[in-house]
Symmetry: C2
Subunit: 146 residues, 2 copies
DNA sequence: CTTATAATTATTCCTTTTCATACAATAACG
DNA sequence: CGTTATTGTATGAAAAGGAATAATTATAAG
């Protein structure tokens, strides 16, 4: 796409963003084919297997800001995939849960995600994958700490 | 933020996206403090040291789609940081270059980016960093191939 | 040369995100 | 208690992003 010695080629954050973007592109397309947005998918996946997550926690988990999550939840409620309930101990908080339909929908998406991941891991090799996981985990630790 | 064994905790694409998001958050905030958006920064950084890049190539490099880049370029032209010129050999193509002001502006941003990266590499350690770069490079290779 | 197909960028329309703010509930403090 | 601060969520206006398409230029085929 270009030779030379561009700044961005040695820039770590660019490499990270590019790897994430490229690796996710294919599966994100599959999500859209299923009739969901990436934002939908992230919220649904974050809710899988958990009784109730607050809006703020969802924002952290889904790498989005709070208003965006509020609106995504509103959509998912309209689609019948998610429901809100107020927390009894702190009535400011809104606990978000999957509905029965939402749970079934996310199961399908998670199955597709697992298949996609299996193909990626297969292409990369097991050792390379564990090296990647270790490195990414360290990035997260160090970034949060620093 | 939650214990349990959530699906997303073992999901590689989520780990990638999360690492990228967290690692970039601090510097992206610095970009905004300087009066730029992340989109501005990516285009400017992609242009540094290159005579002229087409809109389509910028879209690839900047991990955005083509219309988004067209609009970002329009903004940057208005800010006097970038200029368009038509390619003589193919008049469909638009070659985008940094202006003198744009070059000076991106130099400051790149200096800040280098400092930020130096701090991150320092926190991670040299060996861990090279392991990360190797792993990310492999992800990109394998994803593009597959 | 003409027509058809492909490639490149801009534009349009609609959805989504973002920023700021408002509102409600809790916490802290005198 | 009453008052002020802080926290959690929703809302509204403005900006950005994305999908589809239009417009222009290149290339290929006949």
């Amino acid at each position: 796409m270009q030779g030379g010695d561009r700044f961005i080629d040695g820039y770590l954050l660019y490499l990270l963003a590019r790897a994430s973007s490229i690796a996710s592109a294919e599966f994100h397309q599959e999500i859209r084919r299923c009739g969901y947005t990436v934002a939908h998918w992230r919220v649904l996946a974050a809710l899988k297997g958990i009784d109730g997550v607050t809006v703020g926690d969802l924002a952290d988990i889904c790498l989005a800001n709070q208003p965006a999550i509020s609106k995504t939840i509103e959509k998912l409620v309209g689609m019948g995939l998610v429901e809100r309930s107020s927390d009894d101990t702190d009535r400011r908080r809104v606990r978000v849960c999957l509905t029965r339909d939402g749970d079934a929908a996310v199961d399908l998406l998670i199955a597709a995600a697992r298949e996609h991941q299996a193909r990626l891991v297969d292409a990369m090799g097991h050792d390379e994958t564990t090296a990647l996981v270790r490195a990414l985990t360290r990035v997260i630790e160090r970034s949060v700490a620093g």
